[in-house]
Amino acid sequence: MLKLDRQFLFGKLKGIYEVTCIKENPLQFILKEMMKEEFIDGVIGTTQEGVKVKPQLFIAPEEIRLSRLYFHSGQNTFLKKAIQKYRLNKIAIVAPSCIFDGLNKTQYYGIGCNWAKTAVALKVGILCLGITSEEGLECELLDITGESKEIVRNYLSPEGYFFETNSGEKIKVNMETHHHYINSGCKYCLNLSARGSDITYIPLQNDRSGIFILRSERGWRTLGILQKKFPEAFKFRLLGFKDISYVEDLLRQKLILNIDYILERVEMGLPVPKWNSNRFRKFYRLWNSVNDVNIEEEAF
């Protein structure tokens, strides 16, 4: 039987750091400085106008204004523009794992965007507990608080998962309530921590600090170079799994809900992806098998 152990929840990693930046959001600062140093020549991420989150291609460091609410909204629509119109070949992409699925496929097969394989320099994954549409978010808030509010930010803290309103009010979100309102595609995601990216970013309560899970040599070197260059701007704190046990708990809670959704879908015989209908069923078999084989990477 598959286990919801740390390996499954977080994937392979090289180190976990809490990074605090004295100037601005550490992820935004890192991307700006990398672009100034020409390690990257463009960033595909999301930007925010109030509660509206939309994807954006940033081609100058001063333009970079990353969204603080989710990080998800069709980033891949900008791939062709970045690679074929602007001829960018060192692009950093800030997105949750589902966006990287599309990007990985484009890179692997070449369907969609030409030469995407060689044009992406850095993949910054976002730990994502499921996203909602604007309307979904409004309904979720009505459900939790009973009144309509404007959410501008979401983050994780030891107390749980929170939304922050434009007036600074903090609203704790129950995972089961959140699961009800999220995009149905997010309900069968098993890669919440963006395994396969170079760095996974987790937003924290203090906007000027965030948790960085370093996964690849490229992610490791990126942070190393910037730490050397701006020793006064960054504070790094090495974290262990104990320090992020609250993240692990939230991930586990959400994954149990997602797994329940997948199992129900298979048992009910609801439609599954046509071209690889074995994907959900393969997971179903793995989940119920008695062999202790850790092959979740192959299943999803």
Binding site: V53, I111, W115, S133, V272, W275
Partner: protein, 246 residues
């Protein structure tokens, strides 16, 4: 290698023989093949381009290991029928390249800017010709397919990378090739995550994106039926095993 056939002799045939066949299309797929530039030179170390109406001067079709065919077959055109017969006789396997040959493309929907000529009225994709069905092993989507896709496909074919080739084998028997199929197969089944890969894959801007609802939208009048959107969607099929990038 399966496409070399039983009569293959390593001493004499040290290069894999390729051919390009042109039916009713704009020739964009052959141009995409040339757009590989220096990567094409790398491939030509291993393969020999034995026949192409654009790239070689040969008039007779030799025996081929792999034939790439572009364009839809015009039922009224005698030359097309004889070319299809020759293709079935002389190629070990056939790969249909692009939307026209694989799914019918713009010729089938008759929404192009050019009206069909009086004597050339009906077009079908090569995948629907019974004579060729046994030979057609893979279908490559796109209008035209990306040069990087053609390059990756060629390499996978020469290395017999079955993980890579599997979805193209599926597409040779599939009719799903337009935005409606993305709606039917992905969005309606609650599988869409709103990544926008289908939008970037669409060559004719028929797929667009609604950022408010976080879902792709589809304009049927612009669709050329090339199959890129559904093939690019990460929810339609995933490579096994998942690629790992370092």
């Amino acid at each position: 290698m399966f496409f070399l056939g039983q009569d293959f002799n390593f001493d004499s045939d040290f290069k894999v023989k390729l051919g390009f066949f042109h039916f009713s299309s704009c020739s964009g797929c052959q141009v995409a093949f040339l757009d590989m530039f220096e990567d094409l030179v790398e491939i030509l170390d291993t393969v020999e381009l034995a026949y192409s109406n654009m790239l070689t001067k040969k008039k007779d079709v030799p025996r081929l290991h792999i034939a790439f065919a572009e364009g839809a077959l015009c039922i009224e055109d005698k030359r097309h029928l004889s070319l299809a017969k020759e293709l079935a006789e002389k190629a070990n396997i056939v790969v249909t390249v692009g939307g026209c040959a694989s799914f019918g493309g713009i010729r089938r929907l008759s929404v192009g800017s050019q009206a069909p000529q009086p004597s050339h009225q009906s077009f079908i994709p090569l995948t629907e010709v019974e004579l060729l069905k046994q030979k057609i092993k893979y279908a490559i989507p796109g209008c035209p397919p990306n040069p990087s896709l053609l390059y990756n496909f060629m390499i996978a074919l020469l290395e017999v990378n079955e993980d890579f080739l599997q979805p193209f084998e599926f597409m040779a028997n599939s009719k799903d090739a337009c935005g409606f199929d993305v709606v039917k197969e992905v969005i309606n089944k609650g599988l869409c995550v709103g990544c926008g890969t289908c939008v970037t894959a669409c060559p004719s801007r028929a797929m667009n994106f609604n950022y408010h609802y976080n879902r792709p939208t589809f304009k049927p009048t612009l669709c050329v039926h090339c199959g890129s959107c559904l093939a690019a969607c990460p929810q339609s099929f995933k490579p096994y095993p998942q690629p790992i990038y370092t």
